[in-house]
Amino acid sequence: MSIASTDTPREVAPPVPREPLLCAPALALFLVMLLTPLIMTLVLSFNSFDFYEGIGSTFSLANYTEVLGDRYFYEIFGRTFAIALATTAICAIIGAPASYFLNRMDPFWRSIMVLIVLGPLLISVVVRTLGWAILLGNRGVINTALMNIGLIERPLKMMYTSGGIVLALVHVMIPFMVLAVWAALQRQDPATEAAAESLGAGPFTVFRRIVLPQAMPGVLSGSLIVFALSASAFATPAILGGRRVKVVATSVHDEFMNTLNWPLGAAMAMILVAAILITMIAWSRLVEDRVGRAYA
């Protein structure tokens, strides 16, 4: 490699990379329009509020202690997380096998099924939730049908319940789970299933021992997305829960738009973000310890 040369090669200054410059407009926009507002909101959450004087520029933890010290807020946070956890669990239980079956369909039916499962992603959440409101109401489609066939006498209460919210949220969130699991399934070598079968495994064993473990990273990442989105969902709980079944997002909306106690609303939002983050980190740590080794 070392070829001696008498004349030293001319030092050529590397050209100034222009690539970072291409980022500059977007970066500027995000610094002004995203980072600044978020920091302002964080600051806002430490400010005081007076009904007559508005937002005061003091700096205290009063809003946080108010939220963290009040049973009323406990209930809201507890409900929010219970709804998010239930939604995540149901999405995983339905989404994993659904993606597996979807992956095995023949291309024509698969493309139709993909449209049915993923298409709703592109339809407004308001519209989809309206559909659930029509289905779940006391005089809604499900109750009317059940009463007509005589299965129940009085309508089941599904509107304005956490259960109704979970049901509609599963509908909204399941495409994310299917996408995540499906992506994991596509990375897997289809011959592994044949290999397991040739070694004597039945269809259920193949799914449980071969497919599911390989789909786990997808289920994990899907769960994280679904959990984060469900815990901060607004439209679905607002429409199906009304004023009676409040979650954090709808309470924050109330604080900002009705009570006008912005600092308190901001503090609730910050606690929500922190809680979601902590749950997500804890969850991925937990799962990584169990399934992560092979994927390191």
Binding site: Q188, D189, A191, T192, A194, A195, A196, E197, S198, L199, G200, A201, G202, T205, R209, I210, P213, Q214, M216, V291, R293, A294, Y295
Partner: protein, 349 residues
């Protein structure tokens, strides 16, 4: 009696016949290669033997029992897949143990057999590692151990070496043969690589367009090809169009050639002649003479292309330490008439 026997096996996908009345048999303990270009139906055949494809018609008999009605998971065959199909979420030992688990073999026995299988493939030291971080050759060995540990009646290998680089491939060929001998398992290898098939097998089954072309030992397939496809697919070959006259004489480009006494019917034939069987002599003393148009140095050999009245012919000359005729030189070519192979003309068969 044949251990594995395929009897007029046929597979149709809609209008396409992928495997067409294929019959051949494999003796117990032998190593047989199913050789052919991609799309010749060899993989479909393997899939049918394994039970992953339905059989359109025909039978597959293994050790006297008809496999057709047996589901894949009950056939008890060891299969090494082209992609190895390792279970990436399990350790090497867990991969190998999987088939034993399915057979509900108790733990101590399982551990003993896993250990033995890993020893056979020289992987004992990696038992607790995950396959994700392993090299191609190591993965290959895991796949082999996993297939062999269940002591299958038949080992199916689907292009097992095609994902390895050239040097490793040669090494694994020797390993594969050693492991197969030590395990004493009847083996069917599917490959498109003629040198691999010849190096490894006791017998070679050549397929093309779903049909059997020839079934013989490697030497015979190479040296006495039955069809022009076989002659062209295995190694290099000169193929000359010729005519078998009613007088029993062989005419090629209006010359009469001496060939081996053959019982072919008069008509169009094809002459196959291996390039290494041709001698280069003086222009005057050859059977034909021609002008060298191309000359390639291959290290241990020279490859010459000579334009002769019979057509372009390639000649392989052992590198004997001196230079050969150059481009533009006129040389004579000669050969022992016994080395001419007279085959039915392509398309006529």
């Amino acid at each position: 009696m044949a251990f594995l026997e395929l009897d007029r096996l046929t597979k149709r996908f809609g209008m396409i016949t992928a495997v067409d009345t294929l019959s051949f048999s494999v003796d117990r303990g032998s190593f047989v290669s199913l050789l052919g270009p991609s799309g010749c139906g060899k993989t479909t055949t393997l899939q049918m033997i394994a039970g992953f494809e339905d059989v359109t018609s025909g039978r597959i008999m293994l050790n006297g029992r008809n496999l057709s009605a047996v589901p894949a998971r009950e056939r008890g065959l060891g299969i090494v897949f082209q992609t190895y199909a390792l279970f990436l979420h399990m350790t090497v030992a867990e991969n190998v143990a999987f088939g034993l688990e399915m057979r509900k073999i108790d733990k101590p026995e399982r551990a003993r057999r896993v250990k033995a299988a890993l020893e056979l493939v020289h992987l004992s030291h990696l038992a607790d590692r995950y396959p994700r971080a392993m090299s191609g050759g190591q993965r290959q060995r895991v796949a082999l151990a996993r297939a062999l540990v269940i002591e299958p009646e038949l080992l199916l290998l689907d292009e097992p070496l095609s994902n390895l680089d050239a040097k490793l491939r040669e090494e694994m060929q020797l390993e594969l043969r050693r492991i197969q001998r030590e395990a004493g398992v009847t083996t069917l290898l599917v490959t498109h690589d003629q040198s691999e098939a010849m190096a490894l097998s006791d017998r070679v089954v050549v397929m093309e367009k779903g049909r059997l072309q020839q079934e013989a030992d490697p030497f015979e397939v190479y040296d006495r090809p039955k069809t022009s496809f076989v002659s062209g697919f295995l190694g290099k070959s000169n193929s000359l169009r010729a005519e078998m006259g009613r007088d029993g004489r062989l005419r090629c480009a209006e010359r009469v050639l001496t060939g081996p006494a053959a019982g072919l019917m008069p008509g169009a034939v094809e002459i196959a002649l291996r390039p290494e069987r041709i001698e280069v002599v003086d222009a005057a003393s050859g059977i034909v003479s021609g002008c060298v148009t191309e000359k390639v140095f291959l290290g241990n050999q020279w490859l010459l292309r000579v334009a002769t009245p019979l057509g372009d012919m390639i000649v392989l000359r052992r590198n004997a330490g001196r230079n050969e005729a150059g481009i533009g030189d006129t040389v004579g070519l000669t050969w022992n008439p016994e080395h001419l192979r007279i085959l039915p003309a392509e398309g006529a068969a």
